[in-house]
């Protein structure tokens, strides 16, 4: 049987829709090849031409596979697997000959849907995949029932999908989960942005342009003040005159906090960033499960964060940290490269000799930033070899990394132990979900100095130049904020409201759909009243639920049939027809009682009279005017007595 061109077109559309999202990350030549093959197929259908010969298809397939192997240097792995699948799905379209091929393509299209979730599991992706189902299912129906019009087709497809919904929910809730993903996704699955373990002029200001979410926080009770929301990330010790790096950090000397207070607990949903840092408010009191704290108070997870994770922790907002810091660490915190930035060193030493206490030197430095006409900008000028000198005495324009860097340099030159801390500051409150969104644009750098008797103290030089950065947000602190992305400036209110709405949705999605792990499953099932949850029990309940669903559908489907058979006249008549059918004379569905009786009478003259009689009784009972019970009984008797 030749497939109709309408069917081929909708099959082409199915394949086009399921492969479309892959165009974003597949090599350009594969995307181009697939597009060309699809267009070729559309052209062949339009012009009603013959399909390409088998040897030609074989040649294209072979060349394609060889090219893919050459491109990736392998034929295994996720990337290659998906690419091959795309190519073969599109090629399959070119050898649609029988209904069997069409069915195969439908299954293939359903399978390709899954591969899209390797790359993105966001709400838009899920919605788009639902939309592809709305094309695939009617196409499948078109194969099964080609005579149906578009409207009933859409109605039936909708009903089918709606019927699948409870089954889907059951499977989602009850299917036993395993810890971690079923198969490990390779490292290259994530190209995420975030803080790194080094900082050079421009690195943070570049990061500030990204609107990507770094993490979301919800506080157990009251949120802290904005100027306390310092999320600690990488701590940088070593400076080579241009770039700050972490150096080596160990766990050998655990941090010692004294005089702690203002405990606050919260949970964080951290987006994958491929590094091991976990972010917490200064400074962590109880650590997330499996996390460790380094000597300089950084939090590390055991593995790089390459999937979205959620953790609970608490912090003390007031503290004295490492009042008895080891001399080696203090020595490490005063190193600066020799022969660079002579004017800065001169200035620091003049402060040093003018003031006796370290605190006074710190204050002098902050005053200096505040009063010497420094400005805060996202577009700082480029700096040369003596970058700190040029910054402090030349342009005096910079972003937070410039200030933190220059400040720490000044402190070290004055002999005060200090280090650069990078992380995030503040966040945007989402009233809809009652949580804070911290974006890459909230990335920040500040300084920590060690003062005798107080330990490590946070000093934010940016606050001396642009206090709004700390009190409000980045947009408020930049005078000319044209360089910022549109949404980070001051967008119209409805737009920021919409964005918060969408973010609240995706937060729920992350929490309940993507983050539905064994713990959450356990918690939900316990709350639903299931006792001692085990996978055996879940599997049993799952089977039971599925069976119940299917039984309910079956019952619903048979209801019509049951209703029809409740009519005694029709029941008796169908019984009569069934007996004749057994004798080799079945009634065609469209055959009326009288016509049927005539046919039987022709075939079996002996039974002609009784068959005609029964048919006449049936006709008058079913189509006649107000038949009585006596007629019904007579009809039933006649059928019972009937012998062929």
């Amino acid at each position: 049987m030749k497939l109709s061109s309408a069917l081929v077109h909708s099959l082409t559309l199915c394949i086009f829709m399921v492969t479309l999202p892959h165009a974003e990350h597949l090599p350009l030549w594969i995307t181009g090849l697939c597009a060309m093959l699809l267009l070729w197929r559309v052209y062949l259908t339009q012009t009603n031409s013959a399909l390409p010969k088998r040897w030609l298809l074989f040649l294209i397939t072979l060349t394609g596979v060889a090219a893919i192997a050459a491109h990736y240097h392998t034929l295994f792995g996720r990337e290659v697997g998906v690419t091959l699948l795309m190519l073969l799905a599109v090629l399959k379209l070119l050898e649609l000959r029988a209904q069997r091929d069409a069915m195969g393509l439908i299954y293939l299209a359903c399978f390709v849907i899954i591969t899209n979730f390797f790359y993105s599991q966001s709400i838009p992706t899920a919605l788009f995949m639902c939309a592809t189902l709305l094309v695939i299912v009617p196409t499948w129906l078109r194969i099964q029932a080609p005579s149906l019009n578009l409207k009933p087709q859409a109605r039936i497809a909708g009903t089918l999908l709606l019927q699948a919904l409870p089954l889907m929910l059951l499977l989602f809730i009850l299917f036993p989960r395993v810890q971690g993903p079923l198969w490990g996704l390779p490292q290259d699955a994530y190209n995420s942005t975030g803080l790194s373990d080094s900082m050079s002029p421009g690195s943070l200001s570049k990061l500030s342009l990204s609107e990507a979410v770094a993490f979301r926080v919800s506080y157990a009770d009251k949120a802290p003040r904005r100027d306390q929301m310092y999320w600690r990330g990488p701590v940088l010790w070593n400076y080579d005159g241009r770039t700050w790096t972490r150096g080596t950090t160990g766990y050998s000397n655990p941090p010692r906090f004294t005089d702690t207070g203002q405990n606050i607990s919260y949970s964080v949903i951290l987006e994958p960033h491929n590094k091991r840092w976990l972010y917490g408010l200064d400074t962590a009191a109880t650590l997330p499960n499996g996390a460790r704290m380094s000597t300089d108070f950084q939090l590390f997870s055991a593995e790089p964060v390459n999937a979205r994770i959620r953790y609970e922790m608490s912090s003390n907002l007031s503290y004295h940290a490492n009042v008895d810091e080891s001399p080696s660490q203090l020595h490490r915190a005063t190193g600066i490269p020799a022969r660079l930035n002579p004017r800065t060193i001169e200035l620091a030493q003049s402060w040093r000799s003018a003031h006796s206490s370290d605190q006074e030197v710190v204050d002098t430095a902050l005053r200096y930033f505040n009063q010497q006409n420094f400005s805060y900008t996202l577009e700082p000028p480029l700096l040369g070899e003596n970058s700190v000198d040029e910054f402090l005495f030349g342009e005096r324009k910079g972003f937070c990394e410039h200030y933190a860097s220059a400040f720490v340099y000044l402190m070290r030159a004055a002999g005060i132990p200090s280090r650069v801390v990078t992380g995030y500051l503040g966040g945007e409150f989402n009233a809809l979900g009652n949580y804070y969104i911290v974006r890459q644009s909230d990335a920040h750098a500040w300084a920590e100095v060690w003062l005798a008797g107080q330990g490590w103290v946070r000093v934010d030089p940016t606050a001396a130049i642009a206090p709004e950065r700390v009190a409000r947000n980045l947009a408020a602190s930049l005078k000319d904020n044209a360089a910022l992305p549109f949404m980070a400036r001051n967008p119209p209110q409805w737009m920021s409201k919409l964005r918060l709405n969408l973010d609240a949705w995706s937060n729920q999605w992350n929490l309940w759909v993507l983050g539905y792990n064994p713990e959450r499953q356990f918690a939900l099932l316990t709350r639903l009243g299931m006792e001692d949850v085990s996978w055996q029990k879940m599997a049993r309940n799952l089977m039971l639920g599925l069976a119940l669903c299917i039984a309910a559908y079956a019952l619903f489907m048979f209801k019509h049939q049951l209703q029809r058979h409740r009519d005694p006249v029709q029941t008796t008549w169908l019984k009569f027809c069934a007996r004749l059918a057994k004798a080799g004379l079945p009634r065609a569905g469209h055959e009326g009682a009288r016509d049927y009786a005539e046919r039987i009478a022709q075939a079996r003259p002996a039974a002609a009279a009784s068959v005609r009689d029964i048919a006449a009784r049936y006709v008058s009972l079913r189509y006649g005017r107000m038949p009585g019970t006596a007629e019904l009984i007579a009809f039933k008797d006649a059928v019972r007595m009937f012998k062929l």
Binding site: S147, L148, N149, A593, V619, Y623, G624
Partner: protein, 305 residues
């Protein structure tokens, strides 16, 4: 079967040989108070059928030959000034007859056609502000010539809907044609026919048709047919509710012709060709199928509930 009806059919069959089904269709159409459209080549006996029917049923008969210069007044009538009485006197047109044969209706302009079709629909005509009722019973047989369509105005689909049935006569079979050729002249034959019933009797029969019983089970069947035509991709448009009504009233008349007082599915199937098929537009690939093949296809596709 009703004795009078039986006589009617027998008498008509004497003149129109070999066309029993078409005769019953025409009669059913008349009994159901619908109008009939015959579409066929010239010379197959369209006019004769109309003549014989009128004669046998005792109806006044008028024939209007439609031409391209036919005006509505030629159909409906016209008022003419009378010198002696100094006022206008209405001269009724040929439409004022119990049976009207509108011959080659597609030759006239749409204006003349619509005058006829309006009269059919309303069973009354309005001329110069005065509404005049048409006789009762009133029956129109229109004929349409499917070839030589140059310079004609074929009735549009919407106008075709005004006719209860559309039938084709076709050539007679060899035996019937033999009888036709060897027999007497048709005109002499018709002149000799005696009316088998009067107007009053015909009106009573029409009333009887309307009282034929239609059960719920049968309505289920009709609805199943309508639904099938609307849901399959075979047809451009499904049957309209008006088509459903036409199907029922034609089936009622068919049941009466068969001597029953209730409609059965076989009646619906019997009138389907005449009533429904010309209202269905099939999709391209089946344009050349015959009406019989289409009917068969539709009937077998819908099981009787």
């Amino acid at each position: 079967m009703n004795h009078t009806l039986h006589n009617v059919i027998r008498q008509v069959e004497q003149v129109i040989v070999g066309k029993p089904l078409q005769i019953r269709y025409a009669l059913a159409c008349l009994l159901a108070r619908g109008h009939l459209l015959i579409e066929d080549l010239p010379g197959v006996g369209k006019t004769t059928l109309a003549h014989v029917l009128a004669r046998t049923l005792g109806m006044q008969f008028q024939r209007i030959q439609f031409t391209s210069d036919l005006l509505p007044a030629d159909i409906l009538g016209v008022s003419v000034y009378q010198r002696d009485s100094a006022d206008f006197k209405f001269h009724p047109g040929p439409i004022f007859a119990q049976m009207v044969l509108a011959d080659e209706v597609n030759r006239a302009t749409p204006k003349a056609q619509s005058a006829l079709l309006e009269a059919m629909e309303e069973q009354q005509v309005t001329i110069e502000g005065v509404t005049r009722a048409l006789p009762n019973p009133f029956f129109v047989i229109a004929t349409q010539n499917p070839i030589h369509q140059i310079g004609t105005f074929p009735l549009p689909e919407s106008q075709l809907d005004r006719f209860l049935m559309r039938i084709e006569l076709g050539y007679p079979d060899a035996q019937a044609e033999r009888g036709l050729l060897s027999g007497l002249d048709r005109r002499d034959l018709i002149a000799r026919l005696a009316p088998q019933m009067g107007s009053a009797e015909l009106l009573a029969l029409q009333l009887q048709v309307r009282q034929i019983h239609v059960s719920d089970a049968l309505l289920d069947y009709v609805q199943a047919i309508l639904k099938h035509t609307r849901t399959t991709a075979r047809y451009v448009h499904g049957l309209s509710p008006r088509a459903g009504l036409a199907l029922l009233s034609a089936a009622r008349a068919w049941a009466l012709l068969d001597g029953r007082n209730a409609v059965i599915p076989e009646d619906i199937q019997a009138v389907l060709t005449g009533v429904a098929i010309h209202r269905l537009q099939t999709t391209q690939d089946s344009q050349n199928s015959s009406a019989e093949a289409l009917t068969h296809e539709l009937i077998t596709a819908v099981p009787i509930p």
